[in-house]
């Protein structure tokens, strides 16, 4: 079957608004007051998303003559529409996209009509590029979900619809495309709409508008369709021009300003800058600083255009406060009598966007608003099958998986449920090693309120324990390959400390695995849990005032950083640096031979990676330094630290 394209007819030539020529000032005044709708086009591969956007730009005169000339030339050279214009080439801007004829990343395009301005994000259909689809959807008010009339509702249609619903886009438009290829048949359209309605109901999309279109021919896009007299509804443009955007709705909620930056140009001025997430603020309003909970009043709303009597959600402002109270980046200024919640354990829905799977228990950076904290995700409660909405039992989340899990943060987080807005309810997770953005998350609710958590008050404090022993607690963390000499050196260090009358304890990898951690294996997830438990045990021992020595391979940087964060200032990372060849040549326990023969799986250095410390506190090159000399140096190092402490 061949596509039929309407040629560029004279009435589609560029024709600007008459008012521009007649009265530019009147036109600009009118243009200034147009509202802005941000929407995405999504759906499966080859449903014609890029073609539709090209058509929208073309029909709304957002394409200039030189761009059209380039497009005509490109269409003939690399287009898929024979001698006709291939509108997809207008948006598929990356060389790799043109080569493969697919959309890889989201493209933002701009056009306006007499009634509204639009930013449209063309999002890719391939499942592997879901992260780019989510990027485009997160800032949109509406979604145009395309369906190829010949194919009906597909897996990607369902996946994208679910994501659109999850991210709380206010409007869903179902554009049944390529009607020209099914003879403009109403029965085909009705069947697809009915199928989609059944699916939409099942995931909770209450309402959507279905429009039969042809992106190639322009039917029901800017103009109606002579070929489909049975359709009496609005064209796509008509509909997009009139749907309610609701951008002012955030003003009706309580005032929240996530503090982005403290402005201190001189000693006389201390302002708190940020974009107002919700509500309205005026000088004199009582406000509370979260998470500390201290209250004060707003003194001024400072801008370069003069102080403002009022500021509303969506504005970037700088506030000064009546009292000198502690407030910095990451804090939230809020209405004093209706502040947001503060918590450190949450249930969240997570869309995994990283190439490597989520590791339950691993510490990631979590960024929410202007707050960045350490966070761990627990084993998912379930993942969601986007086809059936079934809850699947899973151990982890892989690329493009969507699941529900508990998230624990290492500091209290000021938040609101995602239902109430993305500014304090949406977060990203960042890998501590690669710095990649690996997940998008939506907070549902807190599992316990941080303000209700009380540590058992103990009369003999950790300081008292340490003082009794006359020493500063330390955690000497030896890391390195199997057979690198960690245990040997740690053992020598402990003997020296003992001789000096210090109180210490050595936690050895093999010994711990015989008892405390005998339920754990050597998968990545188990290795993380192994280290977490050791970290907690070490923390209890340092609470008791001890100098703790640990000798574990601890191959992952993220877990060592996690323990460092648990024991701020007390964690000393000692890298026992022995080249793999040397450790394997020694092979004290015969483990390398077994790993090489395949008897041991996930063996560090052979079948599992070792991430060497980038900046260890102490590095020991065992090919140049004897264990005795190394142990001496370590003792000197920590005693030196003590003398600084005194």
């Amino acid at each position: 079957m061949h596509a039929t394209t309407s040629p560029v007819s004279p009435d589609r030539e560029y024709r600007p608004d008459a008012l521009i020529a007649e009265d530019i000032h009147a036109y600009l005044a009118q243009h200034q007051n147009k509202s802005l709708l941000r929407f995405i086009t999504c759906g499966s591969v080859d449903d014609g998303k890029s073609t539709l956007i090209g058509r929208l730009l073309y029909d709304t005169r957002a394409i200039f003559a030189d761009q059209l000339t380039a497009l005509e030339a490109d269409s003939k050279r690399v287009g898929t529409q024979g001698q006709n214009i291939d509108f997809a080439l207008l948006v598929d801007g990356l060389a790799a996209e043109r080569e493969q004829g697919i959309t890889i990343d989201v493209a933002y395009r701009f056009f306006s009509t007499a009634r509204r301005k639009f930013i449209v994000a063309d999002t890719p259909g391939h499942e592997q590029y879901t992260r780019n689809m989510v990027t485009g959807a997160s800032t949109a008010d509406a979604a145009v979900i395309l369906i190829d009339a010949r194919k009906g509702v597909l897996t990607q249609t369902r996946r994208h619809s679910f994501l659109v619903h999850l991210l709380k886009l206010r409007h869903v438009v179902l554009a049944v495309n390529k009607m020209d290829l099914v003879g403009y048949d109403q029965a085909v359209f009705d069947r697809i709409v009915s199928d989609y309605r059944a699916f939409a109901d099942s995931i909770g999309i209450a309402d959507f508008t279905a429009i039969p279109i042809s992106g190639l021919g322009g039917d029901n896009i800017a103009a109606g369709s002579d070929a489909m007299p049975w359709y009496a509804g609005p064209t796509l443009i008509d509909h997009l021009e009139t749907i309610d955007i609701g951008t002012d709705a955030a003003q009706d909620r309580a005032f929240r300003l996530p503090v982005q930056w403290v402005n201190r140009p001189s000693l006389d001025f201390r302002g708190f800058s940020g974009l107002i997430a919700s509500g309205t603020v005026r000088p004199g309003d009582p406000v509370r600083v979260l998470p500390s909970g201290r209250t004060t009043q707003v003194a001024r709303i400072v801008t370069m255009d003069g102080d403002l009597p009022q500021a509303v959600a969506g504005q970037s402002v700088t506030l000064t406060l009546a009292d000198e109270i502690d407030c910095s980046r990451g804090d939230v200024l809020a209405t004093a009598d209706a502040p947001p919640q503060v918590a450190d354990q949450f249930q969240a829905t997570i869309v995994w966007l990283g190439e490597t799977a989520m590791l339950p228990g691993r510490s990631y950076w979590l960024k929410l608003g202007t707050q960045t904290v350490g966070a761990t995700v627990q084993e998912p409660r379930h993942a969601i099958d986007v086809n059936t909405m079934a809850e699947l039992s899973v151990k982890t989340l892989n690329l493009n998986d969507i699941g529900v899990a508990e998230v624990y943060t290492d500091r209290p987080l000021v938040f609101e449920p995602f239902e109430d807005g993305a500014d304090l309810g949406g977060f990203i997770l960042i890998d501590r090693t690669t710095n990649a953005t690996v997940a998008a998350g939506l907070l549902s609710f807190s599992l316990r309120r941080a303000q209700n958590v009380h540590w058992q008050a103990i009369d003999i404090t950790r300081a008292a324990h340490a003082q009794q022993k006359g020493q500063t607690p330390r955690l000497l963390w030896f890391t390195g390959l199997s057979g690198s000499g960690k245990s040997t050196i740690a053992n020598l260090v402990e003997k020296k400390l003992y001789a000096l009358g210090r109180h210490s304890f050595l936690l050895d990898g093999d010994n711990v695995r015989h008892g405390l951690n005998k339920d754990l294996g050597f998968t990545d997830a188990d290795r993380i849990e192994n280290i977490r438990r050791i970290g907690e045990v070490a923390r209890l021992m340092t609470d008791a005032g001890l100098i703790v020595l640990t000798a574990f391979i601890s191959p992952f940087r993220a877990e060592r950083d996690m323990v460092r964060a648990m024991l701020p200032g007390e964690f000393v990372e000692i890298f026992v640096d022995t080249p793999l060849a040397e450790a394997e040549a020694r092979d004290v326990k015969g483990l390398y031979a077994k790993a090489r023969s395949g008897e041991i799986a996930n063996f560090t250095g052979i079948t599992s990676p070792y991430e060497a410390p980038e900046r260890p506190d102490i590095r020991i090159d065992t090919t140049r330094e004897s264990p005795e000399a190394a142990a001496e140096r370590i003792v000197e190092h920590i005693l030196g630290v003590w003398s600084h402490d005194l």
């Binding site: 990343d105 301005k117 951008t247 402005n263 990203i428």
Partner: protein, 300 residues
């Protein structure tokens, strides 16, 4: 009472948020300042973002020595008015080899701008550089994130961009890596002009029509800005009323014939025109994917 923000107010708020986010998270930010209209808007937004303080980063102009004279005039004044340090970088190799747009074609852009920029960013140790690019300018820019990651060689990998959700920007990077940040990503050419008009921002007078000496070459109107312009045998500059939609190196930037002597007339002409603003740039005409290629190599 609900107050509806205008489209320009929303754009302004978003850009200010981006500027502050970079200052809060980067170690050594810098603002690329090209003296054009987009740079003028970006600088104005920076002043607003950090008022009553001055923007806590310097301006960097990657100079090719071939900009219009009027641009050099405004450059010094704008930096001084903002109270900001101005760093001017000229690629010493390009200077030594006398690279110029008449003899060296594409090499001129590569050496002065792409290589010059990389040198300046490396020399300054900057880990975040603001640029005034907009997504409506060009197809590969339409695909770029607001916080755009560059590896240690300052290369952009369009196939591996970080997800960018809501207003959450991931500015984390390893030593040697950097970010290019585009606060004007969501502005259109019309938004820029309307904002300049509304905020009365000073721009280079070349954006407004005036009689200027010109020659016509390869379908482009070029302005004879100084005596380094090489006239062909028999070629005589003709005075025409012209203005520019974008400003770059004067021998590479095409003018349009125009009678628009004030901003609203410029906007009127822009809305009535049938060609895009980049049409006057020789740099984009090589091939469709030329901008992506240049960007991947480190061009702004």
């Amino acid at each position: 009472m609900t107050v509806s923000l205008t489209h320009l107010q929303r754009l302004e708020a978003e850009s200010i948020h981006i500027l502050r986010e970079v200052v809060a998270e980067a170690e050594r930010p810098v603002m690329l300042y090209s003296v054009g209209k987009d740079s003028a808007v970006m600088l104005h937004l920076a002043k607003k973002a950090f008022f009553p303080g001055t923007p806590p980063f310097p301006l960097l102009h990657v100079d090719t020595t071939w900009k219009f004279r009027a641009m050099y005039d405004l450059r010094e004044r704008a930096a001084a008015d903002a109270g900001m340090d101005l760093i001017v970088h000229r690629n010493p190799e390009a200077e030594a080899q006398g690279i110029n747009p008449f003899d060296h074609g594409g090499l001129h852009t590569d050496m002065w701008k792409t290589q010059g920029l990389k040198q300046a960013l490396t020399a300054g140790g900057y880990d975040a550089a603001f640029g005034g690019a907009r997504r409506d300018e060009e197809k590969s820019r339409a695909k770029e994130r607001i916080f755009s990651f560059r590896n240690a060689h300052q290369h952009w990998d369009p196939k591996a961009q970080r997800p960018e959700l809501w207003r959450l920007y991931n500015a984390r990077k390893a030593r040697g890596e950097s970010m290019r940040v585009f606060p004007l990503s969501n502005w259109t050419e019309l938004d820029i002009w309307q904002y300049i008009l509304a905020e009365q921002i000073e721009i280079v007078p070349l954006y407004l029509a005036a009689p200027r000496p010109t020659v016509e070459r390869d379908g482009m109107l070029l302005m004879v800005d100084d005596d380094r312009f090489r006239l062909a045998p028999g070629e005589v500059p003709v005075e025409r009323s012209i203005r520019f939609r974008t400003l770059g190196c004067y021998p590479l930037t095409g003018a349009v014939e125009s009678e628009a002597t004030d901003l609203s007339q410029v906007i009127q002409e822009m809305l009535l025109t049938t060609t895009s603003e980049r049409q006057g740039r020789a740099i984009d005409h090589d091939q469709s994917a030329s901008m992506e290629k240049k960007k991947a190599e480190g061009y702004f």
